[in-house]
Symmetry: C2
Subunit: 227 residues, 2 copies
Protein backbone atom coordinates (compact mmCIF):
# COMPACT_ATOMS: atom_id res chain seq x y z
CA UNK A 1 0.00 0.00 0.00
CA UNK A 2 2.84 2.38 0.77
CA UNK A 3 4.76 1.25 -2.31
CA UNK A 4 2.72 3.58 -4.51
CA UNK A 5 4.42 6.59 -2.93
CA UNK A 6 8.10 7.61 -2.88
CA UNK A 7 9.75 6.35 0.29
CA UNK A 8 13.10 7.12 1.92
CA UNK A 9 15.28 4.84 4.07
CA UNK A 10 14.73 5.53 7.76
CA UNK A 11 17.23 3.51 9.74
CA UNK A 12 19.11 4.93 12.71
CA UNK A 13 21.52 7.80 12.09
CA UNK A 14 25.26 7.13 12.20
CA UNK A 15 26.46 7.50 15.83
CA UNK A 16 28.02 10.95 15.32
CA UNK A 17 24.84 12.26 13.70
CA UNK A 18 22.68 10.79 16.43
CA UNK A 19 24.87 12.44 19.04
CA UNK A 20 24.48 15.79 17.26
CA UNK A 21 20.70 15.54 17.63
CA UNK A 22 21.04 14.69 21.33
CA UNK A 23 23.55 17.49 21.79
CA UNK A 24 21.00 19.99 20.46
CA UNK A 25 18.37 18.55 22.81
CA UNK A 26 20.58 18.53 25.92
CA UNK A 27 22.41 21.83 25.47
CA UNK A 28 19.33 23.86 24.45
CA UNK A 29 18.57 26.55 27.04
CA UNK A 30 15.92 29.19 27.65
CA UNK A 31 18.05 32.28 27.11
CA UNK A 32 17.45 35.63 28.78
CA UNK A 33 20.86 37.18 29.44
CA UNK A 34 23.40 35.83 26.98
CA UNK A 35 22.35 37.52 23.72
CA UNK A 36 25.06 39.40 21.85
CA UNK A 37 24.12 42.42 19.76
CA UNK A 38 25.31 40.76 16.56
CA UNK A 39 22.44 40.71 14.02
CA UNK A 40 21.05 37.42 12.73
CA UNK A 41 21.54 37.25 8.99
CA UNK A 42 18.49 36.63 6.82
CA UNK A 43 19.67 33.24 5.54
CA UNK A 44 20.10 31.89 9.08
CA UNK A 45 16.74 33.26 10.17
CA UNK A 46 15.07 31.68 7.16
CA UNK A 47 16.63 28.30 8.01
CA UNK A 48 15.12 28.56 11.49
CA UNK A 49 11.68 29.45 10.16
CA UNK A 50 11.88 26.64 7.61
CA UNK A 51 12.69 24.19 10.40
CA UNK A 52 9.64 25.44 12.31
CA UNK A 53 7.50 25.14 9.19
CA UNK A 54 8.43 21.45 8.92
CA UNK A 55 6.96 20.59 12.30
CA UNK A 56 4.18 18.04 12.44
CA UNK A 57 0.75 19.63 12.20
CA UNK A 58 -2.67 18.19 12.72
CA UNK A 59 -4.14 17.23 9.33
CA UNK A 60 -1.13 19.01 7.74
CA UNK A 61 -2.99 22.23 8.62
CA UNK A 62 0.21 24.24 9.34
CA UNK A 63 -1.68 26.70 11.58
CA UNK A 64 1.37 28.84 12.33
CA UNK A 65 2.46 32.32 11.28
CA UNK A 66 5.77 33.94 12.08
CA UNK A 67 5.79 37.63 13.00
CA UNK A 68 9.34 38.98 13.08
CA UNK A 69 9.76 42.01 15.32
CA UNK A 70 12.79 44.24 15.12
CA UNK A 71 11.12 47.62 15.71
CA UNK A 72 12.46 49.30 18.85
CA UNK A 73 9.04 50.80 19.55
CA UNK A 74 7.22 47.47 19.39
CA UNK A 75 9.89 45.77 21.50
CA UNK A 76 9.62 48.55 24.09
CA UNK A 77 5.85 48.12 24.18
CA UNK A 78 6.26 44.38 24.60
CA UNK A 79 8.76 44.92 27.37
CA UNK A 80 6.25 47.20 29.08
CA UNK A 81 3.55 44.54 28.79
CA UNK A 82 5.96 42.03 30.29
CA UNK A 83 6.85 44.36 33.17
CA UNK A 84 3.18 44.90 34.09
CA UNK A 85 2.44 41.16 33.99
CA UNK A 86 5.61 40.33 35.88
CA UNK A 87 4.76 42.68 38.74
CA UNK A 88 1.37 40.94 39.03
CA UNK A 89 3.11 37.57 38.82
CA UNK A 90 5.57 38.35 41.61
CA UNK A 91 2.71 39.26 43.93
CA UNK A 92 1.08 35.86 43.37
CA UNK A 93 3.95 33.94 44.97
CA UNK A 94 4.20 33.27 48.69
CA UNK A 95 6.08 36.10 50.42
CA UNK A 96 9.17 33.99 51.06
CA UNK A 97 9.67 33.28 47.34
CA UNK A 98 9.28 36.88 46.14
CA UNK A 99 12.83 38.07 46.86
CA UNK A 100 14.32 35.32 44.70
CA UNK A 101 11.63 35.72 42.03
CA UNK A 102 12.37 39.43 41.71
CA UNK A 103 16.08 38.76 41.06
CA UNK A 104 15.38 36.43 38.13
CA UNK A 105 15.77 37.90 34.66
CA UNK A 106 12.88 36.42 32.73
CA UNK A 107 13.11 38.05 29.30
CA UNK A 108 15.61 39.54 26.85
CA UNK A 109 13.16 41.48 24.68
CA UNK A 110 15.34 44.57 24.27
CA UNK A 111 18.71 42.79 24.20
CA UNK A 112 17.82 40.19 21.55
CA UNK A 113 18.18 41.57 18.01
CA UNK A 114 15.11 39.71 16.80
CA UNK A 115 11.86 38.95 18.56
CA UNK A 116 9.46 36.46 16.98
CA UNK A 117 5.84 35.82 17.78
CA UNK A 118 4.60 32.44 16.56
CA UNK A 119 0.82 32.46 16.28
CA UNK A 120 -1.90 29.85 15.72
CA UNK A 121 -4.65 30.53 13.17
CA UNK A 122 -7.65 28.55 14.40
CA UNK A 123 -9.32 28.81 10.99
CA UNK A 124 -6.40 27.29 9.06
CA UNK A 125 -7.32 24.12 7.20
CA UNK A 126 -11.05 24.87 7.11
CA UNK A 127 -14.02 24.21 9.36
CA UNK A 128 -13.20 20.55 9.98
CA UNK A 129 -9.55 19.53 10.29
CA UNK A 130 -8.42 15.91 10.16
CA UNK A 131 -7.22 14.89 13.64
CA UNK A 132 -8.73 17.96 15.33
CA UNK A 133 -12.32 16.78 15.43
CA UNK A 134 -12.13 15.48 19.01
CA UNK A 135 -9.26 17.55 20.40
CA UNK A 136 -9.65 21.17 19.30
CA UNK A 137 -6.39 22.20 20.99
CA UNK A 138 -4.41 20.16 18.47
CA UNK A 139 -3.81 23.29 16.38
CA UNK A 140 -2.13 24.96 19.35
CA UNK A 141 -0.11 21.80 19.96
CA UNK A 142 1.06 21.77 16.32
CA UNK A 143 2.20 25.36 16.73
CA UNK A 144 4.21 24.40 19.81
CA UNK A 145 5.92 21.63 17.81
CA UNK A 146 7.02 24.38 15.41
CA UNK A 147 8.44 26.35 18.33
CA UNK A 148 10.46 23.36 19.51
CA UNK A 149 11.77 22.60 16.01
CA UNK A 150 12.97 26.19 15.75
CA UNK A 151 14.53 26.07 19.21
CA UNK A 152 16.62 22.99 18.41
CA UNK A 153 17.64 24.28 14.98
CA UNK A 154 18.68 27.53 16.64
CA UNK A 155 20.90 25.65 19.06
CA UNK A 156 22.71 24.05 16.11
CA UNK A 157 23.12 27.52 14.53
CA UNK A 158 24.57 29.08 17.70
CA UNK A 159 21.41 31.14 18.17
CA UNK A 160 19.88 31.37 21.63
CA UNK A 161 16.12 31.39 22.12
CA UNK A 162 14.09 32.55 25.10
CA UNK A 163 10.34 31.97 25.39
CA UNK A 164 8.65 34.83 27.25
CA UNK A 165 5.29 33.73 28.63
CA UNK A 166 4.65 36.39 31.27
CA UNK A 167 2.25 38.49 29.21
CA UNK A 168 -1.44 39.12 29.25
CA UNK A 169 -2.22 37.58 25.83
CA UNK A 170 -4.61 40.49 25.17
CA UNK A 171 -1.61 42.85 25.22
CA UNK A 172 0.16 40.82 22.52
CA UNK A 173 -3.02 40.59 20.49
CA UNK A 174 -3.41 44.38 20.53
CA UNK A 175 0.29 45.08 19.93
CA UNK A 176 0.50 42.84 16.85
CA UNK A 177 -3.05 43.51 15.58
CA UNK A 178 -3.98 39.83 15.65
CA UNK A 179 -7.44 39.02 14.30
CA UNK A 180 -9.88 37.19 16.57
CA UNK A 181 -9.27 33.80 14.94
CA UNK A 182 -5.53 33.96 15.69
CA UNK A 183 -3.89 33.28 19.08
CA UNK A 184 -0.41 34.30 20.12
CA UNK A 185 1.34 31.07 21.20
CA UNK A 186 4.98 31.94 21.80
CA UNK A 187 6.89 35.21 22.09
CA UNK A 188 10.51 34.31 21.42
CA UNK A 189 13.71 36.34 21.80
CA UNK A 190 16.45 35.30 19.36
CA UNK A 191 20.08 36.24 19.16
CA UNK A 192 23.58 34.89 18.82
CA UNK A 193 25.01 33.51 22.05
CA UNK A 194 28.59 32.66 22.97
CA UNK A 195 27.83 30.75 26.13
CA UNK A 196 24.88 29.08 27.79
CA UNK A 197 24.17 27.88 31.30
CA UNK A 198 25.51 24.37 31.83
CA UNK A 199 22.23 23.47 33.53
CA UNK A 200 18.82 25.19 33.31
CA UNK A 201 19.15 28.66 34.80
CA UNK A 202 16.21 28.15 37.19
CA UNK A 203 18.01 25.12 38.57
CA UNK A 204 21.36 26.95 38.84
CA UNK A 205 19.64 29.71 40.78
CA UNK A 206 17.84 27.37 43.16
CA UNK A 207 14.30 28.00 41.96
CA UNK A 208 13.53 24.40 40.90
CA UNK A 209 15.28 21.09 40.26
CA UNK A 210 15.25 18.39 37.62
CA UNK A 211 12.87 15.61 38.65
CA UNK A 212 14.15 12.01 38.57
CA UNK A 213 13.01 10.60 35.23
CA UNK A 214 12.25 7.15 36.62
CA UNK A 215 9.54 8.59 38.89
CA UNK A 216 7.75 10.00 35.86
CA UNK A 217 7.51 6.71 33.95
CA UNK A 218 4.49 4.50 34.42
CA UNK A 219 3.48 1.21 32.83
CA UNK A 220 0.06 0.47 31.35
CA UNK A 221 -1.80 2.80 33.72
CA UNK A 222 -1.36 5.99 35.76
CA UNK A 223 0.73 5.49 38.91
CA UNK A 224 1.95 2.00 38.04
CA UNK A 225 5.72 1.79 38.31
CA UNK A 226 6.08 -1.91 37.59
CA UNK A 227 4.69 -3.95 34.75
Amino acid sequence: MTAEYPMIPSGPFAPADREAVYRAIYSRRDVRSQFTSRPIDDATLLRLLRAAHHAPSVGLSQPWNFILIRSAAIRAAAQGAFARANAEACAMFPAQRRPLYSTLKLEGILQAPVNLCITCDHSRGGAVVLGRTHQPQMDLFSTVCAVQNLWLAARAEGIGVGWVSIFDPADLRALLHLPDHVSPVAWLCLGHVEELHAEPELQARGWASRLPLEELIFHESWGQHET
Copy 2:
Protein backbone atom coordinates in the same frame (compact mmCIF):
# COMPACT_ATOMS: atom_id res chain seq x y z
CA MET B 1 25.99 38.26 36.59
CA THR B 2 26.03 34.97 34.73
CA ALA B 3 29.67 34.37 35.61
CA GLU B 4 28.72 32.95 39.01
CA TYR B 5 27.27 29.85 37.36
CA PRO B 6 28.97 27.19 35.22
CA MET B 7 28.61 28.03 31.54
CA ILE B 8 29.22 26.04 28.36
CA PRO B 9 30.31 27.31 24.92
CA SER B 10 27.34 27.70 22.62
CA GLY B 11 28.61 28.56 19.16
CA PRO B 12 27.22 26.98 16.02
CA PHE B 13 27.64 23.24 15.53
CA ALA B 14 30.15 21.98 12.97
CA PRO B 15 28.43 21.77 9.56
CA ALA B 16 27.97 17.98 9.63
CA ASP B 17 26.41 18.15 13.10
CA ARG B 18 24.14 20.99 12.11
CA GLU B 19 23.01 19.00 9.08
CA ALA B 20 22.22 16.02 11.31
CA VAL B 21 19.84 18.18 13.34
CA TYR B 22 18.16 19.44 10.17
CA ARG B 23 17.99 15.90 8.80
CA ALA B 24 16.04 14.81 11.88
CA ILE B 25 13.71 17.78 11.46
CA TYR B 26 13.12 17.31 7.73
CA SER B 27 12.86 13.53 7.55
CA ARG B 28 10.63 13.11 10.62
CA ARG B 29 7.23 11.69 9.67
CA ASP B 30 3.95 10.90 11.38
CA VAL B 31 4.03 7.12 11.05
CA ARG B 32 0.98 4.91 10.80
CA SER B 33 1.85 2.03 8.48
CA GLN B 34 5.60 1.44 8.50
CA PHE B 35 6.15 -0.10 11.94
CA THR B 36 8.02 -3.39 12.02
CA SER B 37 7.26 -5.89 14.78
CA ARG B 38 10.82 -5.70 16.16
CA PRO B 39 10.69 -4.73 19.84
CA ILE B 40 12.28 -1.49 21.05
CA ASP B 41 15.00 -2.31 23.54
CA ASP B 42 14.82 -0.68 26.97
CA ALA B 43 18.00 1.36 26.55
CA THR B 44 16.74 2.97 23.35
CA LEU B 45 13.34 3.68 24.88
CA LEU B 46 14.99 5.28 27.90
CA ARG B 47 17.07 7.52 25.62
CA LEU B 48 13.86 8.72 23.98
CA LEU B 49 12.18 9.41 27.31
CA ARG B 50 15.27 11.20 28.59
CA ALA B 51 15.24 13.42 25.49
CA ALA B 52 11.59 14.23 26.18
CA HIS B 53 12.38 14.95 29.84
CA HIS B 54 14.93 17.57 28.75
CA ALA B 55 12.37 19.66 26.93
CA PRO B 56 11.87 23.25 28.07
CA SER B 57 9.16 23.52 30.70
CA VAL B 58 7.49 26.55 32.17
CA GLY B 59 9.19 27.43 35.45
CA LEU B 60 11.11 24.13 35.13
CA SER B 61 7.85 22.49 36.25
CA GLN B 62 8.35 19.35 34.10
CA PRO B 63 4.60 18.62 34.05
CA TRP B 64 4.89 15.45 31.97
CA ASN B 65 4.48 11.77 32.77
CA PHE B 66 5.18 8.90 30.41
CA ILE B 67 2.80 5.95 30.41
CA LEU B 68 4.22 3.06 28.39
CA ILE B 69 1.58 0.73 27.03
CA ARG B 70 2.42 -2.71 25.72
CA SER B 71 -0.64 -4.62 26.96
CA ALA B 72 -2.60 -6.11 24.07
CA ALA B 73 -5.84 -5.55 25.98
CA ILE B 74 -5.21 -1.86 26.58
CA ARG B 75 -4.07 -1.33 23.00
CA ALA B 76 -7.22 -3.06 21.74
CA ALA B 77 -9.36 -0.81 23.94
CA ALA B 78 -7.52 2.24 22.65
CA GLN B 79 -8.00 1.07 19.10
CA GLY B 80 -11.71 0.70 19.79
CA ALA B 81 -11.85 4.25 21.19
CA PHE B 82 -10.09 5.48 18.07
CA ALA B 83 -12.50 3.61 15.78
CA ARG B 84 -15.55 5.15 17.48
CA ALA B 85 -14.11 8.67 17.29
CA ASN B 86 -12.95 8.17 13.73
CA ALA B 87 -16.42 7.14 12.55
CA GLU B 88 -17.77 10.34 14.10
CA ALA B 89 -14.93 12.31 12.53
CA CYS B 90 -15.57 10.95 9.03
CA ALA B 91 -19.21 12.05 9.21
CA MET B 92 -18.15 15.64 10.01
CA PHE B 93 -16.46 16.14 6.64
CA PRO B 94 -18.30 17.30 3.53
CA ALA B 95 -19.65 14.31 1.60
CA GLN B 96 -17.15 14.69 -1.22
CA ARG B 97 -14.16 14.31 1.14
CA ARG B 98 -15.41 11.23 3.00
CA PRO B 99 -14.32 8.59 0.46
CA LEU B 100 -10.70 9.78 0.63
CA TYR B 101 -10.87 10.25 4.42
CA SER B 102 -12.04 6.70 4.91
CA THR B 103 -9.08 5.30 2.96
CA LEU B 104 -6.51 7.05 5.18
CA LYS B 105 -4.82 4.93 7.84
CA LEU B 106 -4.65 7.27 10.82
CA GLU B 107 -3.18 5.09 13.58
CA GLY B 108 -0.88 2.13 14.17
CA ILE B 109 -1.96 1.28 17.72
CA LEU B 110 -1.91 -2.49 17.26
CA GLN B 111 1.06 -2.67 14.89
CA ALA B 112 3.46 -0.53 16.93
CA PRO B 113 5.20 -2.57 19.65
CA VAL B 114 5.02 0.30 22.14
CA ASN B 115 2.32 2.89 22.68
CA LEU B 116 3.11 5.88 24.89
CA CYS B 117 0.73 8.36 26.43
CA ILE B 118 2.42 11.62 27.46
CA THR B 119 0.31 13.42 30.04
CA CYS B 120 0.30 16.85 31.68
CA ASP B 121 -0.10 17.15 35.45
CA HIS B 122 -1.71 20.56 36.01
CA SER B 123 -0.72 20.52 39.68
CA ARG B 124 3.01 19.99 39.02
CA GLY B 125 5.18 22.76 40.42
CA GLY B 126 2.61 23.96 42.93
CA ALA B 127 -0.27 26.42 42.96
CA VAL B 128 1.66 29.24 41.26
CA VAL B 129 4.17 28.35 38.55
CA LEU B 130 6.74 30.84 37.25
CA GLY B 131 5.79 31.76 33.68
CA ARG B 132 2.32 30.26 33.91
CA THR B 133 0.65 33.06 35.87
CA HIS B 134 -0.82 34.74 32.79
CA GLN B 135 -0.98 31.83 30.35
CA PRO B 136 -2.31 28.75 32.12
CA GLN B 137 -1.91 26.60 29.00
CA MET B 138 1.87 26.86 29.29
CA ASP B 139 1.98 23.51 31.09
CA LEU B 140 0.32 21.83 28.12
CA PHE B 141 2.72 23.61 25.78
CA SER B 142 5.71 22.36 27.80
CA THR B 143 4.37 18.84 27.47
CA VAL B 144 4.14 19.25 23.70
CA CYS B 145 7.78 20.35 23.62
CA ALA B 146 8.59 17.03 25.27
CA VAL B 147 6.65 15.22 22.56
CA GLN B 148 8.61 16.98 19.82
CA ASN B 149 11.98 16.29 21.50
CA LEU B 150 11.09 12.62 21.65
CA TRP B 151 9.91 12.61 18.05
CA LEU B 152 13.19 14.03 16.74
CA ALA B 153 15.32 11.77 18.94
CA ALA B 154 13.29 8.83 17.68
CA ARG B 155 14.07 9.77 14.07
CA ALA B 156 17.79 9.66 14.89
CA GLU B 157 17.30 6.23 16.49
CA GLY B 158 15.44 4.78 13.49
CA ILE B 159 12.21 4.69 15.50
CA GLY B 160 9.00 5.93 13.89
CA VAL B 161 6.43 7.87 15.87
CA GLY B 162 2.76 8.48 15.11
CA TRP B 163 0.61 10.89 17.13
CA VAL B 164 -3.00 9.65 17.30
CA SER B 165 -5.36 12.51 18.14
CA ILE B 166 -8.70 11.09 17.05
CA PHE B 167 -9.90 10.09 20.51
CA ASP B 168 -12.48 11.39 22.91
CA PRO B 169 -10.04 12.42 25.70
CA ALA B 170 -12.50 11.01 28.25
CA ASP B 171 -11.90 7.56 26.79
CA LEU B 172 -8.13 7.85 27.34
CA ARG B 173 -8.67 9.24 30.82
CA ALA B 174 -10.80 6.23 31.77
CA LEU B 175 -8.55 3.70 30.05
CA LEU B 176 -5.39 4.89 31.81
CA HIS B 177 -7.06 5.83 35.14
CA LEU B 178 -5.86 9.42 34.93
CA PRO B 179 -6.70 11.55 37.98
CA ASP B 180 -8.68 14.76 37.43
CA HIS B 181 -5.61 17.01 37.61
CA VAL B 182 -3.90 15.17 34.75
CA SER B 183 -4.70 15.59 31.03
CA PRO B 184 -3.73 13.21 28.26
CA VAL B 185 -1.78 15.29 25.73
CA ALA B 186 -0.37 12.85 23.18
CA TRP B 187 -1.01 9.21 22.38
CA LEU B 188 2.02 8.04 20.45
CA CYS B 189 2.71 4.82 18.56
CA LEU B 190 6.41 3.87 18.51
CA GLY B 191 8.28 1.24 16.57
CA HIS B 192 11.26 0.58 14.37
CA VAL B 193 10.79 1.66 10.77
CA GLU B 194 12.78 0.78 7.69
CA GLU B 195 11.29 3.39 5.40
CA LEU B 196 9.30 6.57 5.66
CA HIS B 197 7.30 8.63 3.22
CA ALA B 198 9.51 11.04 1.29
CA GLU B 199 6.90 13.75 1.88
CA PRO B 200 4.14 13.93 4.51
CA GLU B 201 1.67 11.13 3.84
CA LEU B 202 -1.33 13.47 3.78
CA GLN B 203 0.39 15.42 1.01
CA ALA B 204 1.34 12.28 -0.92
CA ARG B 205 -2.27 11.14 -0.78
CA GLY B 206 -3.67 14.46 -1.91
CA TRP B 207 -5.39 15.46 1.34
CA ALA B 208 -3.42 18.70 1.92
CA SER B 209 -0.32 20.50 0.66
CA ARG B 210 2.64 22.29 2.16
CA LEU B 211 1.95 26.04 2.33
CA PRO B 212 4.56 28.45 0.90
CA LEU B 213 6.64 29.56 3.87
CA GLU B 214 7.03 33.14 2.65
CA GLU B 215 3.27 33.67 2.88
CA LEU B 216 3.38 32.80 6.57
CA ILE B 217 6.05 35.32 7.52
CA PHE B 218 5.02 38.79 8.65
CA HIS B 219 7.05 41.77 9.84
CA GLU B 220 6.26 43.82 12.93
CA SER B 221 2.51 43.19 12.76
CA TRP B 222 -0.09 40.68 11.57
CA GLY B 223 -0.52 40.68 7.79
CA GLN B 224 2.48 42.87 7.00
CA HIS B 225 4.68 41.21 4.40
CA GLU B 226 7.19 44.04 3.99
CA THR B 227 9.14 45.90 6.61
